[in-house]
């Protein structure tokens, strides 16, 4: 029973939502209710995840584990941010400025750092992966799209060149479509596994 109940719940939920989406007018009201439950539960799950994160770091501090200084920093940052929102309100401009002043430079710098790291990685990519059809086509494609991204060729306004560029820009469509279909089939199968009670992604 311990193991069958969650499977039953997952299967019944999935079947109900699918049925409601198909028989939409009849079950619309109940579908809204179930989706609302799901949204609220998902939000609560995120809060539990945050609480787990905090508890983990709190334990690290109490045990004096190696690197507990990072845990202190994390919890302090959390408390300032969380209590600030509760006390001042989410729409408080001073509070939002403070959040932006911390998050914006950090996140932007992290993405900027990715550019620097990618430069180093690009030098090694062929050395580490060797020659294959995939790496060769990747290399040529990357070079071509880098050149197109410069915008210099387009600025020449030569009709034939513009046509070639337009054609080249459409070329990734094929691989991207294959990727989307491949990923879609994989995700669909995972969903079907849940529907048939074969997937237990809730930690059992």
């Amino acid at each position: 029973m311990k193991k069958t109940l969650p499977i039953l719940v997952a299967v019944l939920t999935a079947v109900f939502i699918l049925a409601a989406l198909i028989l939409r007018p009849q079950l619309n009201g109940w579908l809204d209710v179930v989706l609302n439950w799901a949204v609220v539960t998902a939000s609560a799950a995120l809060l539990v995840a945050v609480a787990t994160l905090l508890l983990t770091h709190l334990r690290a501090i109490l045990r004096g584990q190696r690197g507990f200084i990072y845990s202190i920093i994390l919890i302090s940052a959390f408390l300032v941010s969380f209590i600030g929102a509760l006390v001042l309100g989410l729409e408080n401009s001073a509070y939002l400025r403070w959040v932006a002043a911390v998050q914006l430079p950090l996140e932007t710098s992290l993405l900027g750092l990715a550019a620097l790291v990618m430069t180093g990685a690009a030098l090694q990519i062929f050395r580490s992966r060797g020659w294959s059809l995939l790496t060769i086509s990747f290399g040529i494609s990357a070079l071509v799209f880098l050149v197109i991204s410069l915008g210099l060729l387009q600025a020449l306004n030569i009709p034939l060149l513009s046509t070639v560029i337009a054609y080249l820009q459409r070329l990734p469509l094929i691989g991207a479509r294959g990727l989307l279909i491949g990923i879609g089939i994989g995700a669909l199968l995972t969903g079907l596994r849940v529907l048939f009670g074969l997937e237990r992604s809730w930690g059992e």
Binding site: R24, N28, L31, D32, L35, N36, A38, V39, A42, S43, L90, L96, V99, A100, Q103, L104, L106, E107, T108, L110, L111, A115, L116, V117, M118, T119, G120, A121, A122, L123, Q124, I125, F126, R127, G130, W131, G139, A142, L143, L146, V147, S149, L150, G151, L152, Q154, A155, N157, S162, A166, Q169, R170, P172, L173, A176, R177, L179, L180
Partner: protein, 601 residues
Amino acid sequence: MIQCPHCGKDNLPQATRCVHCGKDLDNLFKIEGAEADAGLPEEPEISVSDLLRTFRQEEDSQAEEHRPAVSSGPSAVFASREDTPRAETPQEEEQAPEWLIRIRKRAMQEEDAAGELSRKFNSLEASRSQEHQGRVDEEFANWIARIRENARRENLQAAKSAQAGSESEGGVPEWLRRVRELQPEGLEENQAVQEEPEEPRAEEPEQEKELPAKAEQAQAQEAESVVESGPEEAIETAEPAPDAEGAGEPPLSGHETGAETPPAEEPTESPKTPEIKPVIEELGLASEVSALDLEERPASSETLSADLLLLRKQKESAQILMNLIGEEGKGLPPAKTPREGSRGWYRFILGAFLLLVLIAVIVFVPQARPATYENPTPAVALKDALNALKNGDKVLVVQEYQAAASAEMEQVSAPVLRALEERGIALQFLTTHPNGLWLSANLMNAAEIPARETAYLAGGRLGVLTAALLADESSAMLPEGLESLENYQLILLLEDSQADIQNWIEQAGPWLGAGKLGVLASSQNAALLLPYYDAGQLAGYTAGALEGRVLAAALGQTASTGMPLRAYQAGLLVMIAVLLLGIIIKAEADSNARHQKEPEG
């Protein structure tokens, strides 16, 4: 003594199978002072690799033996020294938990079934500290001492019982009396275990008939296990038993042995062990035992070795459990991957070079004049969709990018929002990310449009589906101020994440009809948006700051000065140079390798 959970009768502490009812005692891994099961999940997944290995070893040895298991009867005292591998009967397989059966099957089927898990487990083992091992060893040493002490006490009791039992031969079978005559000391312990079964003897005649064969078989198995283990190992780990005086003494029958006589503790410590052989032959088990050269084995080590084999195995199990307990709650350590090592300087030099180039261009190179050219087809389509909007039309601006991409996204979005605002189009802001609340405010500021509230839609794809399905605007499930999505002429997604884009295309798109979704995206999404546009699921999209500039110009807006075009171009040129350099380096390395091979050839 430990109690059988099935029949409630007493068994030896080291017994893994009840000598009375034959069922598993389930305490193979029990360690006094260590609550092995307490902190463990019912099916400890982490240990699977090692357990798997153990099962495989067991099964291998079972395959070699092809011997039925001794599961009940007094002589099971030998079998209870469970080091001797036992063949698994179908019944036992049925009793085994489902997960165990599956693991075994898989282990049989796949040669490398344990590959990944073993690798992780090995790295776990490697990461275990010496201190931890020391603790396990100490625990184990204490445990051995306790077991030995218990065994000694029981043997003493057994001797007394044997003496008492020998006075009445009524219930003693013929085979047992003959064995006693040949090896009295060895059966004293057996007798002790027989005490209880002897009482219901009259009620179990069939079982009684089976006993002789089982007893001898058990002896043979034990002897065989000693051969497998090797005498060196047994001697190495055996501590001299203080009361093992019978080693050099003449055999004494149970009748002759007085209560005061120090009992010969272990049945196989007797030098007369070889004399069992004729009995075994007589009982029809000769063929199975014939392979054993009993005379060559040091008799005194036999029982101890059986114990120690059992203990060694239990020690391994105990270690696995201790590891599991120790690692409870911790993640598996990552599999060791070769570190970059000295090549790290590449990253630093190239990164620093790019940084310097960008700084130099930003500081010293003047701004480029905006070029006028046509955007790619999807961006043109979006421009057309935006131009088709009329005064008073409603546009839902869905802000879903993260702070990291805000610089790029503000470049793309701000001119578009400004253009729409100037044309009197009603803009409503919505976000599905918490950060979107303040990022929207920043965007409105950058676009120089009046600030307005941003609605928050929770629940990710569930929330998007809810919003797409809801026609009732008063529903508490929709954020305040948000209308039914059908009421908007265009839903303009500001995105830097493919997953978020797909949420809208997959969850809202099918319910809204074609041409309602337009996307202003980060350049990283361009490739994967193309198929959706090609399939007619998007009204159009613009990806990246460069296309954003062209779109802004097409909408009659000036592009933001936040991103100098020259610096962007310089960065792209650096990447082109690095990629070419990488290709050249690889080609040169290949050429060198060929040259080195040629002389060898």
